[in-house]
Symmetry: C4
């Protein structure tokens, strides 16, 4: 048993110990390879860091990362002023009517008063820690693409038909031909769910299970992929695993092996973030506490070192920036699961993917506006595919995410050819404060909105939704025009002129 006062002496770069879950670790040699940066560790050097460490690191990470000699043994809890917190248990499902946010300890509105996704966002902003809110809310640069994701699809009009018997509507679909879902809705991969609630990604899994919809599990989840898998309602509940390929490819091989063994039913390969976007709200939270950082003269001298901080950049550490189409062969060699490409943003890439026999589906996404600012809303990409290469719809399933706050948004994407639509922030905002229950309520709200929308359209099942139900005139002219398209029109005009 180590004395906390002894630990406290190792509080510098030369010798740096920390207490985590009652055990003392010597992280001196690890400081400079910490994805989150050295400063974060040094601020906690010699102290109990459990509260800060816990919600953003999956279990097992310490054991993976450190050698046995760096695990110094248990601390004598009587020697520390504040006793080390226990890893928090998941809240029980039978929440009371005045639920209390386990993170901020402020009272939450009754869940039945949360009428829409915007209500959940409002509550999340009030109850999350500033750091967590900044991480979830932030998007790249000036948030133009983030806002555009919502506004573009809102400008599409719906065309309700009359005299249709809509007593019953069937919202169910089958993903990849065999995986049933009660809704054309899934939870898109989003990192660090335990920042919102101790239920974390397992809570999302339970809510998806109860509601019969797909969860895509983030490579950067704050729980292990096995923990999240074990939260399935039944073995038949579908979870797909999102993969960031690591520069050290062997790490990804190991992850894929675990994924293969744990019952995940597809791989979602993320391609829209070969480098992290600049999410200033996230970076700013770090900066504000960071008064000791010197003016980065070194940054000027060595301009290739990007200077931003923030959780987004930290999570990105180790991700491979040099994937090419050839790497699909490697991925197939590591797993026989269906492969989905996430982050398609042009019809050209959609067509390349559709023509690649290793690809089963594509997820049109701009990373929720968190990668390239002023990238197209994914609904534009969907319409671009229809305009230039509609054969893609016959070859792969097309999913879409970004900016989804309403059932009408989901139905519009289906009318234009999407197979299913993902929510990212909406699920996390449901989780914030309420845990699994909140995610369930979010799904319930969207289910009711989808059903109402389908009924008002006069449609009984998802497969009956089509182009005739949407008026896209407000954005038709905003789609990309290929140089050849422009040339053809010009040549056409020129040609007819020449003949007159």
């Amino acid at each position: 048993m180590l004395d906390a006062k002894e630990v406290a002496k190792h509080n510098s770069r030369k010798s740096c110990w920390v207490i985590l879950y009652g055990t003392v670790y010597d992280v001196t040699d690890f400081i400079d390879s910490h994805p989150g940066g050295a400063n974060v560790i040094l601020q906690l050097a010699g102290k109990d860091a459990t509260v800060e460490y816990d919600p953003i690191h999956p279990p097992g990470l310490l054991e993976e990362t450190l050698s046995k000699s760096q695990i110094l043994g248990p601390v004598d809890s009587s020697t520390i002023l504040k006793p080390p917190p226990q890893r928090p248990a998941s809240t029980s499902p039978n929440t009371t009517s005045e639920p209390e946010n386990p993170i901020s300890h402020t009272p939450l509105p009754p869940l039945s008063n949360q009428l829409n996704i915007a209500d959940f966002a409002l509550t999340a902003e009030k109850t999350l820690s500033p750091k967590a809110w900044a991480y979830y809310f932030s998007a790249s640069d000036d948030l133009i693409t983030k806002e555009h994701n919502s506004s573009a699809i809102a400008s599409i009009l719906l065309r309700p038909r009359i005299f249709k018997d809509v007593e019953y509507v069937d919202t169910s679909i089958k993903l990849l031909g065999t995986q049933p879902s009660s809704l054309p809705l899934f939870v898109a991969p989003a990192a660090m769910a335990r920042l919102a609630h101790p239920d974390g990604e397992a809570g999302i899994a339970r809510a998806c299970g109860k509601n019969g919809i797909l969860q895509m599990v983030s490579n950067n989840a704050s729980m292990s992929l096995e923990q999240i898998a074990s939260a399935r309602a039944s073995p038949s509940q579908n979870q797909w695993f999102q993969l960031y390929v690591q520069t050290v490819r062997e790490k990804s091989n190991k992850i894929l092996q675990r994924v293969n063994e744990t019952g995940y039913t597809a791989i979602v390969l993320t391609l829209d973030a070969p480098t992290p976007g600049k999410r200033e709200a996230d970076e700013r939270v770090k900066n504000f506490g960071n008064t000791t950082s010197a003016i980065s003269g070194e940054g000027v001298a060595n301009p290739s070192v990007h200077t931003g901080e923030g959780l987004g950049r930290a999570l990105f550490a180790g991700t491979s920036p040099n994937l090419t189409w050839a790497d699909l062969e490697w991925l197939r060699s590591q797993t026989s699961l269906p492969i989905i490409l996430k982050g398609i943003q042009t019809h050209e890439d959609a067509l390349l993917a559709a023509n690649n026999p290793l690809v089963s589906g594509i997820l049109l996404s701009n990373h929720g506006g968190r990668a390239m600012d002023t990238a197209s809303p994914p609904i534009y990409t969907l319409m671009e595919i229809r305009k230039y290469c509609p054969e893609v719809f016959d070859k792969v399933e097309i999913y879409i995410d970004g900016g989804v706050k309403r059932g009408t948004t989901i139905v519009k994407a289906l009318c234009l050819g999407a197979k299913a639509v993902g929510i990212g922030r909406a699920a996390l905002f449901g989780l914030a404060g309420y845990g699994e229950e909140g995610v369930g309520r979010v799904i319930q709200i969207l289910r009711e909105e989808i059903e109402t929308c389908m009924r008002l359209l006069g449609v009984n099942s998802v497969k009956d939704l089509g182009l005739k139900h949407v008026n896209t005139s407000a954005i038709d002219h905003l789609l990309y025009k290929t140089p050849s398209y422009k040339t053809n029109v010009t040549r056409f005009v020129e040609g007819v002129k020449a003949r007159l």
Copy 2:
């Protein structure tokens, strides 16, 4: 004579009595079939509920709904602390110059100071109860369609001509060939007028009678259809009855029989709301008082039960969600009155209606933005009809409602082919506080605005209004383009290219 203290003991789901207009009713068996939900009744169990009950239920309803054994007899008024209120009498027409709102008892601006519809809305917001305001003001989801209804038509430009003798203008029209109206304006069906003023729908009827315009009477009026009919200025005053067909069809048969017998001159069949839209402002009023409601875990378990509340959903209870074109035959079998279809939102349905011999007119409407959010403004539908199937104008009369706040709006719709234009909220806002007088002032304002607009256009009569008086270029490109339209253009370009 029952003692109120005895009544007060029956205040639970097991035994539930209420006092209404001095009589005690046992509603224990009715609680779960109450369209407005059980909670509303249980909150008033054992009490005098007249004030809450009165403005949203037509007279006669209790007798229709309850059996004789459930009518327990008169209460001894001396035993209740607050004496039961009398059914309020209609305010006398000779209002003083400083009228007092009979609902909120706040002073109202002199009626002559109300210069436009926006003034009335402002006053209504201040004087109505929060519940009534929420019910009238609310629209679906994010109110996009509600706002769009107004903004779309505001972006159409008017084209005044010069050197026209406009000393006299004739604003009169004939509806359905024989029913005269002094204006191309009608009051569209809107429910629950007594929430605004005790004059209720009868007050609207009197104002319409004095001004010589048509009233469409809501199926969900807060007065009986006979009461409203008896407010006619003369037997020749036209009232059309709006019908929500009930799931229990026999109920609708009975209503139609009463309609046939009471001198209504057309049936308006509502088709734009086979399920209620999600009017969150309305639902929220309920929710805010509803702190005891548990987190709706059941809702999650049984997702087909929609969880929203609100007056809009309550009124919808019992409405048939499964009408088809075949039901027009049933309707014709129940009445020989002309049939108008309300809620046409596409040119396809307009054409189907026009080609149906049972249909005399269509009312282009998105339910004032209260059904599908992001549905088209009705002016788009009107223009769509002209673009794709102008023969509709020759076969049925076309009416339009939604977002009307100005005479110019009405004139523009006429220029584009509408026969008459309806106001919904505007009439209710006129009623709020002022009663019949307010509705009269609203009609007077619109009459003056219509006349001024026609004079400035250089037009003497409604029939002279035409396409040449409006510039629709700001919205022409926003209309729905049929797939065949797009195909034709593409094929055209392709074809000419092929020949060059």
Copy 3:
């Protein structure tokens, strides 16, 4: 000499006397024919009304209107508590650096600090009486056209050229072939200038004379047309007279005779206001003081009586609503001056005017947004003419007004074919507080902005401005499309399709 206490007894509809400029008038018989309504007089009955009467009535009006027997003689000034104000003298031109507003007596910013038209508007809002500000600022309904007038032309882009010698620029033009102007700018007819400053229309005349530009004098000026004429800097200063034809045509004949005799050099016939627009800000000022007005039940009973008040409606009284093209013959019979038609808002009317040999010019105007709300900005009309009937430019001179706040606005209109551009409110805002000096500063500011704009365009004289200097793409698609234009395009597409 009459005693004021005696006058004070005649304060009712039965016997109504007022004191004006020290003389007592019996206006009992005149009350009901007062264009501004009876109420205004009755509120001043028995009192000295000079302050209220003076700024909105031209001199000589009393003598014209009343018979000799109604002029009762001078009042004994010692008998009235407040001595009657003298008709105020024009302020002397050598204003001090801290000028004082002669109306509100508040200090004004130094004139050299007023850098643009918006500065003057801001000062005018602060220094004018609420009634005067409302009259000048107001426009019809929702002010959509008023705002559009400015925004439409602001969206046209200018195209500066380089390497042009712009040391000298010549901004002068000749109107109607012979009337020189130092700028392509004129003061459009605007009523009631003495509401802004005692200098009134004569002050505008002096400023125009010193700056060598045209003044159009309003039919509703607050000074006599002879007074305004006598303020000319020289006999060669051009003033055009704006005419509202009166229902009693003989009145207009008399006015035209005076115009002919006083050296005006053209007649501007106003055609965009056969009925007054609904300027609610103007009407509201009246209403607010008007707490005794009863609810206008009569208005409901007699809907053809429009209920609005306000200075705008009062000034309109007596104006003929039934002019036709045939009346041009009458006008020619009364004057040999060139005739300009004001208020052309369509290319159809522009073409009719151009083909009429009695017409020398047309003024594209929507009355500053004060007549029809949602009418086109005049720049659209100008572009419409170029699109559909450019021959108009060869047959008549085209002037334009509405929303002019910047020199760039003026230059853009010239590029598109206007001969000269008018300012209305801008001149009145200059007059407000500062009098003639302020109008001069307004003209000076616009002169400098025009010169700067021309230099930056690389243009030396007005005649060199052309289509190549403006990019109108932002509004090209918003112009009116004639039905034949649409038909042609459709027929064209149909036709080519048929041949493929």
Copy 4:
């Protein structure tokens, strides 16, 4: 040694002495030819004017301007109450973590907390003097073009591609074929840098040198061109000199001789400002302190004298307004350096420039919105060139500036054909408070944003950026349409119609 009390007596237009850097000057004869106006000098007459004079005048100017007899000799510093300030030394590079603004002496945020250009603007607004902020921030008239510069390019969408190896990206370019730059970014010529920080233009030079990018040096720099040249990191650092040709051509000849001798590597001839724009914010700062100025009656009398003041107009004094293409021959006769034309705003001028053998490059610029308001954003001009005369890209290099706040903006311009993109205000805002370090941070931020953008696009080097990476549909229709283009389309439609 002169006594300050003696100097103080010479405080009038008759005899006007000032103390500058400890020396007394007699400027009596110079007052009326002072470009900044007489008033500014008279306010400082008889006083030590060093603080006011220093930041806006380059050294050596006094010696150039005044004769020896006007230099009266040193002042006895003991005789002045406040000792004369020394010319401030450049701040040392090793700034502390809480830097202090040398101008406003308020604490600055740590430089590493400045995450984007907007952060620097915010800090600059707080720390600069009102006069300096107004001069930098201001733009012409209503700032429409200034805002449009940013918004137009923000509405262009980027099209990220997937599966590209973007581990390495190369942002370097070569200007004019031989001058390397580490980024496609340069600092555009901007005047009066010492208003922001004593480091002035030399500080910008050092930051550009360390970062390997081009600086264009303003003709109106607040330091001598030799001082700025001597701040080069090495002889190979590129600086281009921006020239305003003077009316007294001999002055420009002398400047060009100095430029030729000091190692500048190109001449940037400014053509977008033959007269100064109306920058009201700048003019207003002067006006507010200027309560003694009389109402400018003279201005009215002599309208060709523009009345505005402000630093912008003062700096313009002496600039030639009459350059033509022929003057390029003169310029070539004075220098053999490559000639760049700055201020091209139409495709017509771009084509003329491209076909002129004396021109090596063109800088598309509207002077940062400071010349003609409502001129096109330069990105429109770039697209116009591609539409109408793409051969320009083959003949000259095209640079662009205006509204650049993000790396994405820069990359978009490159995709559309620009060679490099300039920042003006961004560099000055970096300089404000922080000096050279701040400029370095600005460049570093943009470098990182450019690199991130290129990686997310899937592009490895600048030359790979192309039209396929941008979707310009949001602005395609806003480009100038030549009359011939319109005619062709019309003729085309007419022609085909004729054949049907």
